[in-house]
């Protein structure tokens, strides 16, 4: 049977080349491995070897031809005594197989422009009537780790200063005493190194919690977090996964300057394969961290140095968790939806309080997790209020708020009575001086101003 010889690709990016020279002529016998032609691109010259054996039946593209497209028919090889078929008729490609048939699960029609209200999870986070106790975010994080390490011996903590020093921000207080140096590990100072170690340990069956003193230092390790932790489950065809939590402070503290103040919410939120939590309250910090540790996927858990010392009511239960992808409505309202997360919730709530005094009723939503993001709760709220302001500490371009704006444009356009406003940090590296730092961050006043704009007051 005749065999078609196609223009080869010298590299994945090669689209065409010059067929510089034929080293065989029609009628010549060709063996597998014989160099039969030379191909040139602007980068290199390549010797082109025959794969199959046969007789050169017809040279379709003469030598010296430029711009020959990859996979174009250049010659036909025939067997002894065989006629040369018409170009294109030889060795038909196998028919596309039936394996691409549709599954029984029918694909739904494209969403209409005005969808019905999305389904919202309105279940309470813990049973009504649960006793509460005051706890700081620091204690909440510590108790989440302590409970999970007690429950599962594969869970361990590693990072700089987490053991003897009990954490740069004292989050791991008492853990070394309770679990010993094999499960609470002080690492050498190399974020890139210990993140790689932890990712490998997760591949090896443990459930590491990696503490970064601040996520600013995790920039050194971001290749391990994204290229390895987040993508390996996918790249290995589901064979290898990394159940791991990367946690630490993100965002501005006070007077720590440009290199210690960045908020990474928008960065990590973009990555498929990662989950991203950023709690505001102590109850959420505890419930979400426990969920993060149990999750089979890598989780980026963004805390805030200023929030560590703040106290909240936390359910007094032996074991409770907060699911990912479920926002919390802190305050119901009818005139505007304020969406925030993490420390910026302070400004959202403070603004809502002051706005109420002026007769503006604001609904305040805490996203709690950024991936998965509970957009249903946002859309549902905007269907009621018709206006939305987002509040975050990070920079404006490519912000969490800009993603929310685009979701609302696509899913709730007909309900919006005003453009969505994103209240964000100023678009500058964080200055050191106290007055400038304050100005660079968001504030309740800016939230109030934005709300007045969208409500046309």
């Amino acid at each position: 049977m005749a065999t078609e010889i196609l223009m080869p690709a010298l590299s994945p990016t090669m689209e065409e080349g010059t067929l510089a020279k034929w080293l065989v002529k029609e009628g010549d016998t060709v063996s597998s491995g014989d160099v039969i032609a030379e191909i040139e691109t602007d980068k290199a010259t390549m010797e082109f070897e025959a794969v199959d054996e046969g007789i050169m039946g017809k040279i379709v593209v003469p030598e010296g031809t430029e711009g020959v497209k990859v996979n174009a028919l250049i010659a036909i090889l025939v067997e002894e005594g065989e006629d040369v078929p018409e170009a294109g008729a030889a060795a038909p490609a196998p028919a596309p197989a039936a394996s691409e048939e549709k599954t029984a699960e029918a694909a739904p029609a494209k969403a209409a422009s005005a969808p019905a209200a999305p389904k919202v999870d309105l279940s309470p986070d813990w049973p009504d009537g649960t006793a509460m106790k005051k706890m700081t975010v620091r204690e909440a994080l510590r108790s989440a780790m302590q409970e999970e390490m007690k429950a599962d011996e594969n869970v361990y903590l590693m990072g700089e200063e987490v053991a003897e020093y009990q954490g740069a921000y004292k989050i791991s207080q008492g853990l070394l005493d309770e679990f010993g140096p094999k499960r609470v590990i002080d690492t050498p100072i190399t974020e890139h190194g210990f993140t790689g170690i932890a990712v490998g340990a997760a591949f090896g069956g443990l459930k590491p919690i990696v503490e970064f003193m601040t996520f600013n230092f995790a920039m050194q390790a971001i290749d391990q977090i994204i290229n390895s932790a987040a993508k390996t489950h996918y790249m290995s065809g589901g064979q290898m996964n990394s159940p791991i939590v990367f946690r630490g402070a993100s965002g501005a503290a006070a007077r720590v300057g440009a290199q210690h103040s960045q908020d990474y919410a928008a960065w990590y939120m973009q990555i498929p394969g990662l989950k991203v939590a950023m709690p505001y309250s102590a109850a959420d910090a505890k419930g979400l961290l426990k969920t993060a540790i149990r999750d089979p996927n890598p989780v980026v858990f963004l805390e805030n140095e200023i929030m560590y010392g703040h106290s909240f009511d936390v359910p007094d239960l032996d074991d409770f968790t907060i699911p990912f992808g479920k926002a919390r409505v802190w305050r119901e309202g009818t005139d505007v939806t304020i969406v925030s997360f993490g420390i910026s919730m302070q400004f959202a709530l403070e603004a809502a309080e002051k706005l109420a005094e002026e007769g503006i009723s604001a609904e305040v939503i805490d996203l709690r997790t950024l991936r998965p993001m509970d957009t249903a709760t946002i859309i549902n709220s905007v269907m009621k209020t018709n206006r939305c302001v987002t509040v975050e500490e990070g920079w404006p371009q490519g912000s969490v708020g800009s993603y929310i704006s685009s979701v609302l444009m696509q899913e709730a356009f007909d309900w919006l009575d005003a453009p969505v406003i994103n209240v964000t940090g100023k678009d500058v590296p964080m200055p050191y001086a106290a007055n400038l730092e304050k100005l660079a961050l968001t504030s309740a006043e800016e939230v109030i101003e934005a709300v007045k704009k969208v409500t046309y007051r």
Binding site: S11, E105, T190, G193, I197, D223, Y234, S236, P296
Partner: protein
């Protein structure tokens, strides 16, 4: 006191460039059998000279000589020869398949077959390699089916990683072959972390990290060595020095260190330097390091000295930066010919049987190739289903991915 003078930038360069005669006279090659074999429990500081010599077993006559000739079973060596032949023939077929447009990209092992084929024989099921793209012999020696490897290279419907990875980025947990990272060196600390996890969990498995000479410049390499040094987990830290990082010669990454193996010294790790073209030397060194790891004596650094006889990848034309004849002039020879000569010398092999084995293995490879191509190649036949594109992003598929999958009709 030395005289003050303005600083000069020192840029190392290979001695030989295209057009020159190949010259390896500066590569010091000790005679086979010359290097001592310390007890695996020897303290690193008492065996520092090992990093500056080369462990060799096979001499020019094909005899196994010296303390590292540990009396490997001839049956195992015959299997080793078949593994290397299979890898070489497989490479040749895939390279040509790439030229035929059946895949976009390929990377061959020419000249380096002994390293991965022999190393795997020192491991047990459950041990884990974190390989680079030039250790497919680990899979072949572990008995991974050729047709699966080809399906991966062709990215067809039989591809075990469902069309998600570049050609040659195989992955099989069952065969101790983790996956391959396109970002070089990232798996080096991961292998150390995997071994630390094994130590913490108390299971008896070890891991093997793999890196090329060029990638040792990455900070991952140095971080990994710090952790290996501090926590002493059961890991073997392999460095394959094949002289060339694409067009950059090994002196650029090595800098002032005499050898890559010597990098281990700064971390207090025992370091061996091994003839990578000598199947018996690779096997003996791997067994030495495995013995250490299994006795909880900690990590070992091994530099395999070899030569990349082919291009870096199908996108590379090495004649632009090194003489074409350099491969033939490489003083450590060809790993297949050397093991073949040894087996003939032992009386368990012959020229005729070699020719017959080559034909048998070629038939096996061609049959596997036909089976793979009947499923499909990069541009024809059955491809991975778009349904698979959305799987495995997370352990469970989140609703928005289910929605996106529905939107493309699956």
């Amino acid at each position: 006191m030395p005289e003050e003078r303005p600083p000069r930038l020192h840029v190392p360069a290979p001695a030989i460039r295209p057009g020159d005669d190949p010259d390896f006279s500066d590569v010091r090659i000790p005679r086979a059998g010359e290097v001592d074999r310390p007890d695996p429990g020897t303290a690193p500081e008492d065996m520092r000279d090992m990093a500056f010599s080369i462990i060799r077993v096979l001499n020019r006559k094909g005899e196994a000589v010296g303390p590292w000739a540990t009396g490997a079973d001839p049956e195992l060596l015959l299997q080793g020869l078949r593994d290397m032949l299979k890898l070489r023939i497989y490479d040749a077929r895939m390279l040509t398949a790439q030229r035929q447009g059946k895949t976009s990209f390929y990377m061959q092992h020419l000249g380096e077959e002994a390293i991965s084929c022999a190393f795997q024989r020192a491991l047990r099921p459950g041990d884990m390699n974190f390989p680079t793209y030039r250790q497919a012999g680990l899979l072949i020696a572990a008995g991974y089916p050729l047709v699966k490897m080809m399906n991966q290279v062709y990215s067809n419907d039989g591809d075990p990683v469902r069309g998600r990875q570049l050609p040659v980025f195989y992955s099989s947990k069952e065969h101790g072959f983790f996956s391959i990272s396109g970002n070089l060196a990232t798996q080096y600390p991961q292998a150390v972390g995997w071994a630390m996890a094994a130590a913490i969990r108390g299971d008896k498995h070890l891991s093997a990290a793999w890196i090329g000479d060029g990638s040792t410049a990455e900070s991952d390499f140095h971080g990994a060595l710090v952790f290996a040094s501090t926590y002493k987990p059961p890991v073997i830290l392999n460095i394959v020095n094949n002289q060339w990082a694409i067009s950059t010669f090994q002196g650029i990454a090595r800098g002032g260190a005499g050898t890559f193996a010597a990098r281990g010294h700064g971390f207090g790790l025992p370091a061996l330097r091994v003839d990578g073209n000598d199947y018996l030397a690779v096997l003996a060194a791997a067994e030495w390091a495995v013995e250490r790891a299994r006795a909880d004596l900690g990590p070992t650094v091994i530099e395999f000295v070899t030569y990349r006889a082919g291009g870096h990848s199908t996108s590379d034309d090495p004649s632009a930066y090194r003489p074409k004849e350099e491969g033939a002039a490489w003083p450590l020879g060809d790993p297949i010919l050397r093991l073949k000569a040894h087996l003939i010398q032992l009386g368990v092999w012959s020229e005729d049987r070699h020719i017959q084995a080559e034909a048998e293995i070629k038939a096996e490879v061609v049959a596997a190739q036909k089976e793979a191509e009947a499923i499909g190649t990069l541009h024809s036949g059955r491809r991975p289903s778009p349904r698979d594109m959305f799987e495995d992003v997370f352990a469970e598929m989140p609703p928005h991915l289910v929605r996106q999958r529905h939107e493309v009709g699956y």
